[in-house]
Amino acid sequence: MKRTLLAAIQYLLLAAIAVSTITPFVWMFFTSLHPPQAQIPTMATLFCPDGWHFENYTYVLTFAELPVWRFAVNSFLVTAGVVLFQLTLCALAAYGFARLHFRGRDTLFFVFLLTMMIPAQVLIVPLFTLVQRMGLLDTYAGLIIPYPYLSTAFGTFLLRQYFIGIPRALDDAARLDGCGDWRILWYVILPSAKPALATLAAFAFIWTWCDFYWPLLATSTTTMRTLEVGLSVFSDAYGGTRWPLQMAAAVIVLVPVLAVFLAMQRFFIRGAVVSGLKG
């Protein structure tokens, strides 16, 4: 009996915490369906608005001055670009560090790891100046390529760990078939490393999608803004008014990243654990 009582208390506590975690999101969603001009709904009126205004979403997406659909497109492009770009860099480097032998390999890897120590704030100011000189401010390239969060070193580290774990026998078999390093990487290593790649992709996706600081600086024209920054501009534009519209925009920002998280949570949570235990 005591066991069941304990279990019940546990569930209750956990549920309470879950409620406090979910409530803001629930509120966000329901408020977004209130009439656009409505006051901030109180808890009493939250679930019974004056009609369900799904058109808030259409309005927000197509609002001429602040084209949220455009922000969404930008976010997708930039995020896809970063994920692909970083995966490529990291996979290549990880293969080099894991499978190939060359002078100074371990020293170079150590130097790679050192870069993880540099906090992003130190980098952002000079990075901005650098990117400005390259003429890449306010462009997609400027958003995709310079990624100040140094996940390149982290990604290389993660992939290298995984690659090392892949049995060399597979490599050797492929080499007997006449494969060179490139083909081994592509046909042997990467397919076996899908979990690690998925983890890295998941991390990179969520970091990039939710990134606020760098896109805030790297873009200045409204049409180039990503969703995260666009949302803050949207919020600025309305100030303390039109909460339903603001919340609709917020939901639009949240849905893709939550979808990716829920789909990839296995990888994401495992990745967090791996980085934790190794660090």
Binding site: R105, I118, I124, L127, T152, Y213, L217, F261, F268, L277
Partner: protein, 302 residues
């Protein structure tokens, strides 16, 4: 294994990432140091060399001192509270209960969500009157307990409360990831240790203090250090909710640097401030490591 033969292909494979890190990590880091030694305004053409004048000025700047104080204060609350709460929740979740995975996922959601969207919602949570969630709950509490707690506090507008609100938000957001790491650490504790202790007649509390906590030490250390580092990087909620106010009580270092660099356009001074922040983070992390190492050594000596 042929260590002797240097495979030049290795260099080719690591070249892209190496070039990338050189251009986008090492160069900026050196550039930041360089810029911090100049008076460098983004709009002005002249960047005179001033040596350490920026750093000296920072030491005397009342606004920067205030910034550092705010950041340290924030970390001083956010880190211990964050670690303790996530450890507590991890302990709750670790037992073999059904549906635990769902809770784990739910708690993680704020951590992967858009900070901007979360900030907008937290503005609502903190509103005065019956519209704000916190005040609404206080109101219900008043009704239930007959207490007279005021329900019109504008949390974001009052100097002490704004910081408290930011700490609360950090607990809410960071719970998921920290809990997950503690869970992994808890699962790594070998079951035989507990069994042996139970055989020796230890109760649950003793098992916790003498087995769980010490075994968790490396994990706890990791969580403390990473949470500290993260708390020094607080930015988006300040930018969205308080703008450093009220009365500069939530002006934390990263927000201050942002203002310096992109509102005042003084990137030389901002670089100096970044390096000061870097130094503080290094100091804090090293200090924590040292403390924990000493604590561990004493533990093992006993």
């Amino acid at each position: 294994m042929d260590h002797q033969r240097t495979n030049w292909r290795g260099y080719v494979f690591i070249a892209p990432a190496t070039i990338y890190l050189t251009v986008f990590a090492f160069v900026p880091m050196l550039l930041a140091a360089w810029m911090s030694l100049h008076r460098w305004h983004l709009l002005k053409a002249e960047h005179p060399f001033v040596g350490f004048a920026n750093y000296v000025a920072l030491a005397q700047d009342p606004f920067f001192r205030n910034t550092i104080a705010n950041t340290v204060l924030y970390a001083a609350f956010a880190v211990p509270l964050g670690v303790i709460t996530s450890l507590a929740v991890a302990l709750l979740v670790t037992r073999q209960l059904r549906g635990v995975g769902i809770f784990r996922t739910l708690y993680y959601i704020p951590a992967v969500s858009s900070q901007v969207a979360l900030s907008m919602v937290w503005i609502w949570i903190l509103l005065p009157g019956e519209q704000g969630l916190v005040n609404f709950c206080l109101d219900r509490l008043n009704a239930w307990l007959g207490t007279g707690i005021p329900t019109d506090t504008n949390f974001l507008g009052r100097p002490g409360w704004a910081m408290a609100a930011l700490v609360a938000m950090s607990l809410w957001v960071g719970l998921g990831p920290r809990m997950v790491i503690f869970l992994a650490g808890l699962h790594a504790i070998p079951e035989p240790l507990y069994e042996a202790a139970a055989l020796d007649g230890c109760n649950a509390r003793q098992r916790f203090w003498y087995i769980t906590l010490p075994q968790l030490a490396p994990t706890t250390l990791f969580v403390i250090v990473t949470t500290t580092i993260a708390s020094f990087q607080l930015f988006t909620p300040v930018y969205m909710m308080t703008k450093g106010g009220p009365r500069r009580t939530t002006d934390v270092v990263l927000y201050h640097i942002f203002n310096e660099a992109w509102q005042k356009f003084e990137v030389g001074m901002a670089s100096a401030q970044s390096y000061v922040l870097f130094a503080i983070i290094l100091l804090a992390a090293t200090f924590q490591l040292w403390i924990m190492r000493r604590g561990l050594r004493e533990e093992t000596l006993q």
